[in-house]
Symmetry: C2
Subunit: 399 residues, 2 copies
C-alpha cells in the first residue's frame, strides 16, 4: 500500500505556484456542493464579483475558465479567431510564442512582432503593423512575460486597436493581482489570467473577462468554436445569472479556493498590494545586483512580481538552484527556451511577496555562493535590500 | 466585505459530484509544491500508478488531464481525429451527442448510430456500420450514459475495432471506480473519465489512458492537434518519466486529492467496491420500483452507480427534488435534454454509495410523497430495500 504523502517544506519563489494562504487551503477542504446547487451558484456570483474587482472592469462576462492559465490563453484565442483571421502578436518570450502557436492551431494567421527577449514591444511597432496589414481580427500581447520578467506597456494600445477595429487580447497570467490590470481603462477586450501567480490560489483555474465588443464578435462567428469545452458562448449559459444551464461540471473546490484568495486581495486592497509587490521587488533586485546578477529588462520594464536576472557564466546556476531547494527548501525558477541555463526567475507573487521571504532568499543565496567560492563577504545583498526597505516609511506592519 | 462561505449540509446523490471522503478534503489542503519539484513528480508517479490500477491497464500513457471530464472527452477526440476522419459514435443520450459534436468541431465526420435513449448500442449495429462505412478512424462509445443510466456492453467491440483497423474510444466518466473498466482486457485504445463520480474526488481532472496503438496514431498525425492545451503528445513530455518538460502548470492540489481518492479505492479493492455499488443500486431500485418509479433501461443494462427512473406524470418532479434539497439537504438529479421533467437520476457513486444513504434517501422521498398526497403508507420503499439487503450475507461491516 502507498504511504501518506507528506510534502517537504517549501518556500515558493519561482514563476508559480506561489505560496497559498492557510485560509485558501482551508477553503479547498470545504465539503462539496452540487454544481447547480443554489448555494454554489452564490459562490460563483461572489467569484464573478471579486474577479471584476481585480480586473478593474464592469464587464458582465467575467468568469473562471475550468483549466490552468494555458487553458485561459486557448479559450481567449479559439473563441475570437476563425480560420483565416489575422492576429498581430507580440513575441518577446515563451508566452508570446505560445500565443502565436495557439493562433495558428486554430487556423489563424499570426503576424509576429518579434523583438529580443527581455525587451517590450514598442507601441509604434504595433501601430505600424496595424497600418501595414490588411484587416486584423485582434492584437495579442503578454502583459507580464514570465519567461523574461518584462512588463509590456499597454497605455496606448487599446485606442490603437479600436481605431483599426481590432480586439485587444491581453495575457495577464502573471500580472493580475500584483500590478494594475485596468481592463476597462486600457480598453482590453479579452483578458485572461491564472490563479497560481499573484492571486496565490492553487493552479487550476483561468480568470477571464470579455468586453461587449469581444462578446459580439464571439456570438457573430461564421464557424463554430473549434473547442466545445472552452466555447465561451456555451460556458456563458452556465455562468450567466438567470440561465445556469449545465455545460460541464465546474471545478467546485477550486472555485471555493479562488473565492477565498480573491477575498484576501480585496481585504488588502489593490493599491497596498501593488505597492507591496513593488517594494519587495526593488529590495530583491538591489540584493541581486549587489551579487552581480543583473535583471534582463531595462529598469522601467521590470515586472514587480517576477525578477529575471542573468547568471554570470562562472556560476553553475543549476547547482545553486539545487542547493537552494535541497538545503533551504527554496524554489526559484530557471530559464526557459533560449534562456535555459542563463537566467534565474525569482517570483515574489501574492503571498510569496514578503520582506521575510526576500531576506530569507538573499541570505540563503549568499550562503550557497560562499560555499561554492563565488562570494567571500556574507551579508552584502542583505545590506542592499535593507537600504531599500529603510527608505520606506513604516506606516503599519509590512507584510 | 464578503462573508465567510459556510456551505449548507448536503447529501450528494445526483449525477456528480459525489460525496468526498474527509481524507481527500484534507489532501486538498496540503501545502503546495512547485510543479517541477522532485517531491511533486513523485505524486504524479503515484497518480499514474494508481490510475493504471483502476483502469486495469499496463498502458504507460496513463495520466490526469488538467480539466473536468468534458476536457477528457475533448482530449480523446481532438488528438485522434484529423479533418475528414470518420468516427462511428453511439448516440443514446447527452454524452453520445456531445461526442458527436466534439468530433465535428475538429473536422471529423461523425457516423451516428442513433437509438432510443435508455437503450444500448447493439454490437451488431456497430459491426454493420464498420462494414458499411469506408475507412473509420475510431469507434466512440459511452460506457455509462449518465443521462439515461444505461450501461453499454463492450465485450466484443475491441476485437471488432481491431478487425477494421479502428481505434476504440470509451467514455468511462461515470463508470470508472464503480464497475469494471477493464481497459486492457476489452482492448480499449483511448479511455477517459472524471474524478467527481465513482472516484469521489472533487471535479477538475480527467483520468485518461492511451494504448500504444492510439499513441502511434497520435504521433503519426498529418496535422497538428488543434488544441495546444490538450495536445497529448506535448502533455506526454511532462507526465513521462525522465523528461518532465514544462508544458502547463499542473493543478497541484487536485492531483494531491486524486492521489488520496485513488488510494481509498486501492484500500477497498475493486471487487469489493464494485459489489458495494451493485448492492446499493439494487436496494435503491427495489425501493423506487415499490413507489412506482421505473428504471429507464432494461434490467441487464442498468448502471450500478446511476439509476435513472421515469417519474409518473401525476408527480411534480421538480417540486419533489426541491423539497428533498431544501428540507433534507439531499441532492438528486433531474433529466437532461428530452428527458427534462420526465426522469430523476439518483447517483450512488463512490463515497455516496452506502446503505445509510439509500435508506436516508428512500425515507425522505417517502415523506415528501406523503406530504404531497402521492403516497399513503410510509416505509414501503424502505421495506423493499431491506429485503435486498437481507439477501446479502454480512461478512463484515457494509459501508
Amino acid at each position: 500500500m502507498m504511504r501518506d504523502f507528506i510534502p517537504p517544506r517549501r518556500l515558493l519563489l519561482g514563476p508559480g505556484p506561489s505560496m497559498v494562504h492557510p485560509r485558501v487551503l482551508q477553503a479547498l477542504a470545504t465539503p462539496l456542493l452540487g454544481h447547480l446547487d443554489p448555494a454554489f451558484l452564490g459562490v460563483m456570483n461572489d467569484v464573478q464579483h471579486l474577479l471584476r474587482f481585480v480586473f478593474a472592469t464592469t464587464h458582465p462576462f467575467t468568469i473562471a475558465v475550468s483549466g490552468t492559465g494555458s487553458a485561459g490563453m486557448e479559450a481567449a484565442i479559439v473563441n475570437v479567431v476563425e480560420p483565416g483571421d489575422a492576429v498581430i502578436v507580440g513575441v518577446n518570450g515563451v508566452f508570446g510564442m505560445r500565443l502565436a502557436t495557439v493562433i495558428e492551431r486554430c487556423g489563424g494567421k499570426a503576424i509576429r512582432l518579434e523583438i529580443p527577449w527581455g525587451q517590450v514591444i514598442p507601441p509604434e511597432m504595433i501601430e505600424s503593423a496595424l497600418r501595414r496589414s490588411g484587416p486584423v481580427k485582434a492584437v495579442a500581447l503578454v502583459h507580464a512575460e514570465t519567461s523574461t520578467g518584462a512588463s509590456q506597456p499597454l497605455d496606448t494600445i487599446g485606442s490603437l486597436c479600436r481605431d483599426h477595429n481590432a480586439l485587444l487580447i491581453i495575457d495577464a497570467v502573471t500580472s493580475l493581482g500584483g500590478m494594475p490590470v485596468d481592463v476597462d481603462r486600457l480598453g482590453i477586450d479579452v483578458c485572461y489570467s491564472a490563479t497560481q501567480k499573484c492571486l496565490s490560489c492553487p493552479p487550476g483555474l483561468a480568470p477571464l473577462t470579455l468586453s461587449s465588443r469581444a462578446l459580439s464578435v464571439i456570438k457573430g462567428r461564421r464557424t463554430p468554436c473549434q473547442s466545445w469545452y472552452l466555447d465561451l458562448a456555451l460556458v456563458a449559459e452556465y455562468w450567466a445569472e438567470g440561465s445556469r444551464a449545465y455545460h460541464h461540471t465546474a471545478p467546485i473546490s477550486m472555485l471555493y479556493a479562488l473565492r477565498e484568495a480573491l477575498r484576501l486581495v480585496e481585504e488588502e486592497g489593490l493599491p497596498t498590494r501593488v505597492a507591496r509587490h513593488r517594494l519587495n521587488s526593488e529590495a530583491v533586485v538591489a540584493g541581486l545586483m549587489e551579487l552581480e546578477f543583473t535583471p534582463l529588462p531595462l529598469t522601467e520594464h521590470r515586472l514587480p512580481m517576477l525578477t529575471c536576472v542573468t547568471v554570470p557564466p562562472h556560476i553553475d546556476e543549476a547547482a545553486v538552484r539545487q542547493q537552494l531547494l535541497q538545503i533551504y527548501g527554496i524554489e526559484i525558477g530557471g530559464g526557459l527556451g533560449p534562456l535555459k541555463g542563463k537566467v534565474w526567475r525569482i517570483g515574489l507573487m501574492g503571498e510569496s511577496s514578503t520582506e521575510a521571504n526576500v531576506l530569507t532568499f538573499l541570505n540563503a543565496l549568499e550562503e550557497v555562493l560562499i560555499r561554492f567560492g563565488w562570494l567571500s563577504t556574507p551579508g552584502v545583498a542583505l545590506q542592499a535590500a535593507a537600504r531599500v526597505y529603510s527608505r520606506t516609511v513604516r506606516k503599519e506592519h509590512r507584510a
